[in-house]
């Protein structure tokens, strides 16, 4: 009898744990943590969900500066002294398929977590 009760409790625990882990895996919160990397090193980590009012800051490196602006629409580069300004024209960071990259300044703005079940993107 005791063994039977133990078995039932064990089965119940397994069901709850299994269901919980499946739920967590399938309901991952969308990416909101953004990493700003300078030459491969993380210099800022920003939770876009925690942003209550727009603000901006500069990332300065030996190569030059990039001005980064964050508001309710997301994160983007608004000014930089790089020659091509591709990072500014990129606009708001929308997905990791297309991180904001400033090649001359070796700066990357990217979501911390990868999108979906795609492991890498060729471009």
């Amino acid at each position: 009898m005791r063994a039977k009760i133990f078995t039932v409790i064990f089965a119940a625990v397994l069901i709850v744990c299994g269901a919980a882990s499946l739920y967590i895996m399938k309901h991952k919160t969308p990416a909101s943590i953004v990493l700003i990397k300078s030459d491969g090193k993380v210099v800022r980590r920003i939770d876009l969900k925690a942003v209550t009012r727009p603000y901006e800051f500069e990332v300065k490196a030996e190569y030059g500066y990039n001005r980064i602006y964050i508001d309710g629409d997301g994160i983007r580069i608004t000014d930089a002294d790089c020659p091509d300004k591709i990072c500014i024209r990129h606009g708001v960071l929308k997905s990791n398929f297309s991180p904001i990259v400033c090649l001359p300044h070796k700066l990357t703005v990217i979501f911390e977590n990868a999108d979906g079940n795609i492991d890498a993107v060729t471009d």
């Binding site: 397994l14 020659p83 795609i118 993107v121 060729t122």
Partner: protein, 330 residues
Amino acid sequence: MKKIIFTLTIMLFLSSCSPINSAKDKISADFYAMDTPMVLTAYGDNAKPAIKAIKTEIIDLDKKFDRKNEDGELYNFNINGKVLVSDDLADIIAKSVEISDLTGGAFDITVSAIMDLWGFYDQNYTVPDDALIQKKLEKTGYKHITLDGNLLTAISMLDLGGIAKGYASDRAMKILKSYGVSSAILSLGGNILAYGTRPGGGYWNVGIEDPVQTDKVIATVEVSDKFVVTSGTYQRFFEKDGVFYHHIIDPKTGYPADNGLTSVSVIADSGTLADGLSTGLFVMGLEKAKEYLMAHPEIGAVFIDRDSTVYYTPNLSGVLKTDAKKTALF
């Protein structure tokens, strides 16, 4: 009841173990080299020393192959035109010439002089005078490259930007093998090496960037131990007087290849070949590329045209997924 418990235990194990383990065993490095971001990720035992060795190798190759690096070999060669070069530089030049032969000159590392005219290197974009292009064309062409052992001679400047990342990814694969790594995904500026299997098992899922909406993928391919490389018009371009000019120059005309394609992705067993072919097949255009691919069934390729139609080689039919309109190439 025992059967139920067993089944549930397996379910619990499967549902919870792989993401946690893969995260714990994951080693990543990202840095800039070869004028582009590199993201290296490997899993499991030996992942850390393997990634470190790959990073060192890429930086070393970059120094040798970068034509702008005044301390580098290629820079030195482009000034002198006749130099005894290292085995690495001789090897990549030899492989580049092989791919030029394979593609009938559609891929050509001497096209850099023309690229310079268009301003694709320094972003000083301009539409060059046709007479200037024709004059430069006289002094370009891979047939002018000679390699006698390690003695390299050419009448034109060389640029390895269209093949160096692929070559480096081949080296990366050798390093992964030597360290016994079983699972790694590397992006050398968008040149992908999908090595072994995903940490939880199964194929790697590689997305192909949408040439129109570049924050999305237009298709995915499931691969293992393959190199996936793309050349697209959207990577570097400018518009002047309402005309769109992109950076994939046809070495025969000196003008951007204008054949209705917007991107070509190549899936192959060699990174060097995939890199060179992605440019070469783009320049060849759909029909000539089709002939080449029919004769080389081991190569996979995905073409996207201006209407966002996806053309693919039949060997990808089971692994290519897309919501776009798609057609088998043959």
